[in-house]
């Protein structure tokens, strides 16, 4: 579309020979032409063209000669073309309507997809359909951010160089966007039939298992419970993603590469989320066993005194469990 517009209509790439006057040294009887030159003059001044327009009077334009006129013509046309292209690019990319089709869902569909994300498919010889939808994944990422925030505050995490919220948002969005891009790149290398939006959608719905696991285990602090949830819930959602991906890839080596990478990254992320933001509370429980600290109590920030003593025992507790 842009190429044709340049050739027809408003601006032409060809210099308009009508405006060039051989006797430009002495002809200024055409008022229309003079007005147009003055207009171009103004536009060039507006552009920041230094020097040319400052001293001149409109009437003495003709004295400038051929080169001056040509130069002004070219500058004017380049300005027009540039302005047109910039406004086209802006209206194309800054338009949020591009994203509108990806948000076209019904609540029942979202619920169905959430439940499906925990059920691994059995048929891996036939490419499984992935809905290219971004509402569900986006909401799941934000939910994960909220759960992380809750977990960080209950475990009295102190972040020195930044804010809690910044860390939570950075971690979750970084994982979603970064791992999606990486898997898309790998899928491209392994000739898998998947688009970027589908990959984003698949991984986003895979975070549903993470949300459930973290929501439960941030409130009920038992190590073994976390491991069970990690294996079962995390494993189910990983299996589903892996099965869908496998159904869209041919070749054993490629399937192995894709599935191995995705499974490793997904499961390790859940481990990381649990251990990076939660160790202090477990330390509290290990030291203060007894009726004083039931596991369901919110030990948010009401126990600053304990945290110092806890930090020493935390290292011991982790070393013991690992």
């Amino acid at each position: 579309g842009g190429f044709e517009d340049n050739m027809q209509g408003g601006g032409s790439a060809v210099i308009d020979m009508e405006n060039m006057d051989d006797t430009s040294g002495s002809s200024f009887e055409d008022m229309g032409e003079m007005h147009q030159r003055m207009k171009e003059e103004e536009e060039e001044e507006a552009e920041g063209d230094a020097g040319a327009g400052e001293e001149e009077d409109g009437e003495f334009l003709g004295m400038k000669g051929l080169r001056g006129q040509l130069g002004r013509q070219v500058a004017d046309q380049m300005w027009q073309v540039g302005k047109r292209q910039a406004s086209k690019a802006f209206s194309l990319y800054a338009n949020i309507d591009i994203l509108r089709p990806y948000f076209d869902v019904e609540p029942v569909q979202v619920r169905a997809r959430l439940l499906e994300s925990m059920i691994p498919v059995k048929m891996i010889n036939f490419p499984q359909k992935i809905a290219g939808e971004l509402y569900g994944p986006l909401m799941l990422v934000f939910t994960l951010v909220a759960i992380l925030l809750h977990g960080m505050k209950t475990s009295d995490t102190i972040i020195r160089e930044g804010t809690l919220m910044g860390t939570a948002i950075g971690t979750c969005f970084g994982y979603w966007l970064g791992v999606s891009s990486f898997m898309y790149f790998l899928a491209y290398l392994c000739n898998a039939q998947i688009t970027m939006v589908q990959m984003l959608s698949l991984l986003g719905y895979g975070l549903f298992g993470h949300c459930i696991t973290l929501f439960v285990t941030y409130n009920i602090h038992f190590h073994s419970l976390f491991y069970i949830f990690w294996l079962v819930v995390g494993g189910l959602s990983t299996l589903r993603m892996v099965a869908v991906l496998v159904s869209r890839t041919v070749g054993h080596t490629q399937r192995l590469i894709l599935c191995g990478t995705l499974a490793a990254l997904h499961m390790l992320f859940l481990l990381y989320l649990h251990f990076a933001y939660h160790k202090v509370v477990e330390g509290i429980l290990d030291t203060l066993e007894g009726p004083n600290m039931p596991p369901f109590q919110r030990v948010a920030r009401d126990v600053p005194v304990v945290s110092n003593a806890v930090l020493n025992t935390t290292a011991k507790a982790i070393a013991l469990t690992l």
Partner: protein, 217 residues
């Protein structure tokens, strides 16, 4: 001025306008110019508009006053006061006081922008700033909750105070969500209301959680 004695104007031509120095261009809505009124009038008018919107938030009815004349003064005041009250509630080190203010500010504005974009993408008919205005004003119940929590914490930080704070914050959280839903959900197609309400719920949940876990040092 002896020089002006020669200046004569024919009596047929009516002379109008001001003899003072002409001021640039005359805008077409000069009749409604608010430049000449006393400053007190200007401020009181804006304050009254903000106050009226506060009342609309506390008693959410199906009125469109909040939507029609949107302004961002109220949300700014609420956001700043909430952020100031939440400051200084962190652990021992002194450099944790700073991020709290920025955190709250960024959460509120970034969250409001995301919710607005989301509702627009889902086919909403409300404009960007109108939505920001509604979401900002509906933070008012939570600011009130923060005030109450601070007062309760002055009396002590035990289990009973925690229960009181929990009840107050949950009630205000529900109020905020209902108030903003009353304004925003109408602009959506009827079967997609749940899709718009959920992010609002999450947004106010995060703010309520920050208020509930606040402990002054």
């Amino acid at each position: 001025f002896p020089g002006l004695a020669d200046v004569s104007i024919s009596q047929d031509i009516p002379v109008e306008g001001e003899i003072t120095v002409p001021v640039g261009s005359h805008s077409p809505d000069e009749d409604y110019s608010t430049l000449d009124e006393p400053v007190r009038d200007t401020i009181m008018r804006d304050l009254k508009a903000v106050g009226k919107k506060f009342v609309h938030v506390m008693y959410p009815r199906k009125s469109s006053a909040l939507l029609r004349d949107w302004d961002l003064w109220g949300p700014l005041v609420l956001c700043v006061s909430l952020a100031l009250m939440l400051q200084g509630g962190s652990a021992d080190s002194k450099d944790d006081g700073g991020p709290q203010f920025a955190e709250v500010f960024v959460i509120i504005w970034f969250g409001a922008v995301v919710i607005t974009l989301n509702s627009k993408l889902l086919g909403g008919t409300i404009s960007f700033f109108q939505s920001l205005c509604v979401l900002g004003y509906c933070v008012l119940p939570l600011t009130v909750a923060m005030l109450v929590c601070r007062l309760v914490l002055l009396a002590g930080a035990g289990t009973i105070s925690f229960i009181i704070r929990l009840i107050v914050v949950v009630a205000m959280f529900g109020w905020s969500t209902l108030a903003s839903t009353a304004f925003l959900a109408d602009s959506q197609p009827p079967n997609r209301k749940a899709l718009v309400v959920y992010p609002i719920f999450l947004f106010y949940f995060v703010i309520s959680w920050m208020i509930l876990t606040f402990t002054p040092q």
